[in-house]
């Protein structure tokens, strides 16, 4: 049962569907090209370029990616572990911070917001940060070195603060307080429940950061068994592009030649695959409010 829709409703629906369909095609096409290329023989890519249907079918790209399957699986494991732990920890700290900063009766919220924001403006650069992690925190080859960078970002904290502000009305804090709920209890019982779409968003962004991260491995991990997936795969590609970029004068040659192009594409698929399977589960939180509304109407 819904109230009768006005005449513009159909117009908007039409617009919505056509725009989303068009844009989806624009997003899908290149991806299909990548899938196709990942299934094409490398020689054929170099000779004839990319096509939507593989001109010479071959699995060599995937074979290169998985040439030592246990390495890839282990790297998946490392990435999965850091993503889960990092996202959980990060979400916990950042939702708390966002909550505290959203409280209007918290006097120094602006000063602290600035304290957090300031770090996006100024930084000491890579070298001091590297020295801090390796020399003072002794994080070389530890999982902590993969989790700590990006655990909290000013952007996500302020975003979280914003979500909480829109989702939780100020009066709710007041009444909860009158009922005798402590600050942490308000957060745990009320704020977290009400700002689910926001948490899902921040959690998604955080998880994507961990999933796509290769830089931390590059800097702080020497033990190949602790490489993140992206870094593990990057190395396969980079050893090939290294030869391409260094002139013949280096005299460096590496054992075995790699099908670079098809491997590059297969790698993209291997990395994206799992996320595409998991994404629908996160999506629930974005459509929930609307489905309730639709049912209600």
């Amino acid at each position: 049962m819904r109230i009768k829709e006005d005449k513009y409703y159909g117009l908007l629906q039409g617009l919505s569907y056509s725009v989303t369909i068009l844009f989806s095609i624009a997003c899908l096409l290149p991806f299909l090209l990548i899938i196709s290329a990942s299934l094409t023989a490398n020689d054929s890519i170099i000779r004839d370029g990319y096509h939507l249907i593989p001109s010479t079918f071959s699995l060599e790209g995937y074979r290169t990616v998985f040439r030592f399957p246990e390495d890839v699986l282990r790297a998946y494991g490392v990435t999965f572990f850091t993503t889960v732990v990092g996202t959980t920890l990060g979400l916990f700290f950042m939702t708390m911070a966002g909550y505290v900063l959203s409280r209007r009766d918290f006097k120094y919220r602006n000063a602290f917001s600035f304290y957090i924001y300031f770090t996006t403006l100024f930084g000491g650069g890579l070298v001091p940060w590297y020295i801090l992690y390796t020399k003072y925190l002794h994080l070389t080859d530890s999982y902590m070195a993969l989790i700590l960078p990006g655990l909290m970002t000013p952007f996500l904290i302020i975003l979280m603060k914003n979500f909480i502000r829109t989702a939780v009305p100020e009066e709710l804090f007041e009444s909860a307080k009158i009922d005798g709920a402590g600050d942490f209890r308000i957060y745990w019982r009320i704020v977290l429940q009400l700002s689910m779409p926001g948490i899902a968003t921040v959690g998604l962004f955080l998880a994507l950061h961990y999933w796509n991260d290769w830089f931390s491995s590059s800097l702080y991990i020497n033990d190949t068994h602790k490489y993140q997936l992206q870094f593990h795969l990057y190395n396969v590609i980079n050893s090939a592009s290294f030869i391409a970029n260094m002139g013949a004068g280096t005299g460096v040659s590496l054992a075995g030649d790699l099908p670079t192009e098809s491997t590059k594409m297969a790698m993209a698929i291997v990395v994206t695959g799992p996320v595409l399977f998991l994404y629908p589960f996160i999506q629930r939180y974005f459509v929930k409010g609307l489905t309730i509304g639709a049912v209600k109407g």
Partner: protein
């Protein structure tokens, strides 16, 4: 010392009951009359600290994190003013003043680089957000659930296409000799276009690819905000006879404004940085296009690849930071004058 003592008391008794609360409060007011000025501010802070003890505690991990992860390494800013030397530490290296900044303007391109960087970033910010808002609204209006989920997933796909791969695809489409575009043009009997030799086209292409890649990502933020808006508002407006466009314009859009301003402010602070990979991968060594496509990050990267100098890298970062800092302080100040709610801090 005394302040500490009082606030300790203050905090300790706070949960014990209303009576103590006022008693202690009265006590601290007396103290504040004795001590004055800066001590006063300090005392206020400690007072607040104890009153919102739990809130402070909840914020503490974040504060410590940024202190260690971001503030400690900031001492490295001093590198910008020294001649880096392996034998002496940070503070023993020779002080060289602004010498490390020189390379920024020596090539005579600093002004153009700054202009390009700011220009592209503004386009990214404005177009990116407007498009994200429009798409989020349209998407939220879709009624077929599976379709909605599917399209949203698809729109997220480009985010996973790394710029390395994107540059390969782009080259495949636009290259002069065998690109998809020219093959198509040839079929219609048109003249081939040498896209990689036309600097102006790349302004649009770069913005286009940025939007294509990031839309799915930024849309999620707005979609989440729209999802959070209570359905009751819409029902009420419907009963009042507002049509669908009016409902969007008067309910949804204002609700997105806070988010928009926040994203805008955030992006302004780093207006001199960012999107290195996009430019570096798509343009690479093609100097023909630099006039319209070179940004500060790519310039610094190329320049420092030959000197390995820590001091110069830090100097470039400092220039970017200062620019963003001044900009963001000004804009935030203005916004605070207009409406405190929207200010970032």
């Amino acid at each position: 010392m005394f302040e500490l003592f009082t606030s300790y008391f203050y905090g300790k008794y706070r949960n014990a009951g209303k009576l103590h609360y006022t008693e202690i409060r009265g006590f601290t007011i007396v103290v504040s009359n004795v001590a004055g000025g800066r001590k006063d501010a300090m005392r206020h802070f400690l007072q607040e600290l104890s009153r919102n003890r739990i809130l402070f505690l909840m914020l503490l991990p974040t504060l410590i994190y940024f202190l260690i992860n971001s503030y400690f390494p900031m001492v490295g800013v001093y590198y910008a003013f020294t001649q880096f030397d392996f034998n002496s530490g940070l503070f023993d290296s020779a002080f060289v003043g602004l010498k490390n900044f020189e390379f920024l303007w020596k090539s005579g391109t600093l002004f153009r680089l700054t202009l390009n960087t700011v220009g592209y970033n503004l386009a990214f910010i404005v177009l990116g957000n407007v498009l994200a808002i429009v798409c989020a609204i349209l998407l939220s209006e879709l009624r077929i659930k599976w379709f909605k989920k599917l399209t949203q997933s698809i729109m997220f796909l480009p985010y996973f296409v790394s710029f390395v791969i994107l540059s390969v695809i782009v080259y495949n489409v636009f290259n002069y000799d065998s690109g998809f575009l020219n093959t198509l043009l040839a079929q219609f009997g048109a003249e081939p276009v040498d896209v990689y030799n036309k600097p102006v086209i790349w302004i649009f292409l770069i913005i286009l690819f940025y939007l294509w890649k990031n839309l799915g990502y930024s849309m999620v933020i707005y979609l989440a905000t729209i999802t959070g808006i209570s359905e009751e508002y819409y029902e009420a407006a419907k009963i009042d006879g507002a049509n669908i466009f009016q409902r969007i314009w008067y309910i949804t859009v204002p609700m997105l404004k806070t988010t928009f301003v926040m994203l805008l402010l955030f992006a302004l602070g780093s207006i001199m940085k960012g999107q290195f990979d996009l430019f570096y991968q798509l343009i690479g060594n093609n100097g023909v296009l630099y006039n319209t496509t070179d940004i500060l990050d790519t310039y610094v990267f190329r320049s420092l690849k030959v000197t390995f100098d820590v001091g110069m890298a830090t100097a470039a970062g400092l220039y970017q930071s200062l620019f963003g800092f001044i900009l963001i302080m000004t804009v935030n100040w203005i916004i605070r004058k207009i409406n405190d709610e929207y200010a970032l801090f």
